[in-house]
Point group: C2
Chain length 602, copies 2
Amino acid sequence: MAQKYIDLTTLKYLLNNVHGLSQLVQLERYKEHDPESMGMFLDSVKEFADRELFPFFKEMDDSPAAFKNGEVIVHEQVGVIMKKGGEMGLICGPFDYEIGGLQLPFIVHTAATYILDTANNHLPGYLTLTLGAAELITHFGNSALKDAYIPKMLSGEWGGTMCLTEPDAGSSLSDITTKATPTKDGHYHIKGQKIFISGGDYPYVENIVHLVLARIEGAPAGTKGISLFVVPKLRTENGNSIKNDVTTLSDFQKMGQRGFATTHLGFGDQNDCRGWLLGEAHQGLKYMFQMMNDARIGVGRGAAAISMAAYQASLQYAKERTQGRKLRSSGKKDPNESPCPIIEHPDVRRMLFLQKAIAEGSLSLILLAAKYHDLQLAEKDQATKEKYGMLLEIITPIVKTYPAEAGAVAVNNGLQVLGGYGFCTDFILQQYYRDIRIFSIYEGTTGIQSQDLLGRKVLMDNGRALELLLNEILETITEALTMENLKPYATILGDKIKLTQEVTAHLMPIATEGDFERYLSDANLFMEFLSHLVLGWIWLDIAATAEKDILKKDNTYPLDFYQGKIHTMKFYFKYELIKTSGLAKSIMHEDVLTLNSEKDYF
Amino acid sequence: MAQKYIDLTTLKYLLNNVHGLSQLVQLERYKEHDPESMGMFLDSVKEFADRELFPFFKEMDDSPAAFKNGEVIVHEQVGVIMKKGGEMGLICGPFDYEIGGLQLPFIVHTAATYILDTANNHLPGYLTLTLGAAELITHFGNSALKDAYIPKMLSGEWGGTMCLTEPDAGSSLSDITTKATPTKDGHYHIKGQKIFISGGDYPYVENIVHLVLARIEGAPAGTKGISLFVVPKLRTENGNSIKNDVTTLSDFQKMGQRGFATTHLGFGDQNDCRGWLLGEAHQGLKYMFQMMNDARIGVGRGAAAISMAAYQASLQYAKERTQGRKLRSSGKKDPNESPCPIIEHPDVRRMLFLQKAIAEGSLSLILLAAKYHDLQLAEKDQATKEKYGMLLEIITPIVKTYPAEAGAVAVNNGLQVLGGYGFCTDFILQQYYRDIRIFSIYEGTTGIQSQDLLGRKVLMDNGRALELLLNEILETITEALTMENLKPYATILGDKIKLTQEVTAHLMPIATEGDFERYLSDANLFMEFLSHLVLGWIWLDIAATAEKDILKKDNTYPLDFYQGKIHTMKFYFKYELIKTSGLAKSIMHEDVLTLNSEKDYF
């Protein structure tokens, strides 16, 4: 089995040099933290991952979480990660001191969870869902709810889940039918079913706290009639902990991420399920979406991590496996030469650079989003806060989508590096290949994200968020134009900004004329287009940082490390960013082929 | 589970209308056949597939072929397909009458096997490998070998395999070390190991005939010292059938196509394995590659079939599943409306059209290759034979690669249509997703095919094969230019011909200057580029056929059927063919980033 699953050096370089962690911790909120101690924290997380996560990765796939005799069975490491992860601050990290948190920058917490994901993506979800549920209670709960739930959740003694999807309401949350009936005791009776509930039930924690979207009787139809409830597995009555009529009805067996239990939950089958309203009635979806940004960064993080781990595994194989010979100038090979390691073959290098470009680019992208989260939260100036809020809004659908979609392509190339062995269960690549596939579906499919990006975020505040994003990109271009080595690439990216403006100028009139269905019909292509622009920027930023470090003769890292970053930027530009031309043409194409076609064309 | 797994109407339309089966059977070789009886044959194959293949598809994945206690265990349908498939002529079909074949056009045999593949891709390999092995013996064996093996193989009583790969010689066949030592009795002693042997062992047949690449002692190094041997599992001695010291050492458990046993075979562990030389010494690789074209068409056929089956499954789901509502001109939805079938959503239609374009386009491509095979074989005129031989040579790497690579993308979109359910094992899409992944590896990876295309086929006979191919494409363009409806698309494809010439004009000097490694460094991109050109042609050809049928008011099929084909051509041009622009730019890019980079850049 592959030994290395993460490039920790690159993670730290991106955190410190590219994203300027030392500047971030000058903000009042983070002043107790310093880069050095945070680096040590990450090292300890890596050791934890080496010991408690990575060794169990394959066996969690071989023996999936399962629902047997009315019980959900999961690997015992789930207990370890909840307990020790809780102790290490992997749940409470980003929370305020006053509620028991560490007030850790979200970018560092993201890096820490990323390390866990690279080691074994089946486990961290138990922690992160608990964190997400606790965050909702912290933001919108009254002090009674906070006191009752938060300490136990932040310590990992209790788990948490998000219950959105129903059998007839997947991507369409407005069709939620789970019912909440008020009682005179202040709580509600909850009745309904939820599907695809990750970590919906498992032993090894004392309680599980479900955050459930439901409709209060008589609420308006659609998304405006949905409220959010805290529904624990066990409730406290007269000082006793008793069952709250939340039952696992079945589970979902999946192609990948099989160690992460996915359940079908019933609430109130015996009419004895109590829920507590979180915040105000009918505001549930709004609340849910306030923390959805973080959840979506989390999905991007998981996918980015899998592409990193797969890259490391295929890189190791390519260095060790000898096969074939280098071509001579005649185009022939000399059979008497010894075979070379396959990393010498240009096509293998192409597959490795593609993986590196996607894996490291995705990592830098999720760190950027986490930084925006931090800046929005911790900056004092209202205009600055809003600016980073807007940037976070527009970048989030890309952060959710690119690492998943491009990550699947990266892992696919990783598998291919191994040839026939890549397809065999004795090698780990095929597991990464199966695991990463869920990330294009989690927390809003790629289709939903693309509609969010083009239909909501691009139009938001008259296009202000996109304008802010393009300005950020222009700043990097301006800086890179001053470096002789990077000038040609900065110029190319500048042209792509113009192309973006051309594309939006083409699309806007369609939206303003009210032809919304047409406006959004190629939203997926727009997502791909804008993702490439953003990743081109991410890579130019990394290259500019490396170039500066070379110029100032910083020898913290070997020269090859810096040059490898610049080289990968060039690779991204040559092989990936170039696709924006074709995509722009497709988007601006006059044929609209997915609206007017007859059903019987299929 | 999905019920429909093939669009038989489209298969027959492609065979008869697009590829002109009725003209093909005017050739002397096929004169006993007529389109009607061949249509009935295909119907009977479909019934066979309905009954004996499709119902076992999921359970073959759930209970994979396995090596236990020294025995290879496979699903009992393996016995059924060998016996009944043999009886139905699914092995002997394309063979000459005189050797016991049906002299069926290869295009019809390909269509028949394709039907089997769509129903259950884990089973037909047992038949097709037997066919391939029998074909080699037929072509290169002496009459003793033919008499001993062919009748039993064509009837399906005996199975066959191809044994190429060794632990240290995967893509690099020149490193084969299996030894063959001549004896004075005319046969050879064989000693060595072979891995990844599909259908390498199974009960339900009386014998298994291995075609083994090995090196006669003292043979030259490299590919020129490899010979081909017939090595049966059981040999006949003094009228008795005795073991021939071929043993299964282990098997390979895989991510997909799990019902198709993949074995690791040992030859001569007890120094008692006999092999019979096929044809002349040291010609083994040449022989193997003479039938490799058919094997590679077979790989394309399997992948094309899986993309078809996945398309049908996701299409059925999209028609039945209701969720969400159509957008109104305001960009909002009315929650009081009932949800619509998801096929109404433009993005779902996009995913379905993409699948249709790839699945049907791949099918037409493999039928075209099979037709070239037929014409090369059955035409009398030497120049015509050679022409089709050249066309077959240049198109084969694309036929092997496109259905596998694009097919994986198609299936990926099919899975996405189902959202979360697509990832669950209760739905069949995830199985197609896993199964199709092997086709980019089988019979020469995509990397190897790309090197074959650019390094061998494009250069062949001073570029004559490519020229012939472009001429064929130009013929279709010329015809389509006469149809008002298709003119714009014909013009676009004409421009792409020019772009192809530009790309090759850029590449050729690099090869002639002897910088072969650089010439081939982006062979994969060239493969993708030329595949799009060929598929654009395939679709223009289908559209031109449909347009002609509409113009002559042929009402064999409903109007929507014809228009659906033309619409899908437009879809291919808008979303796929357009990618050639970016690919051409990447290929002609001045940065060569996969040759000069340092290993430590990774």
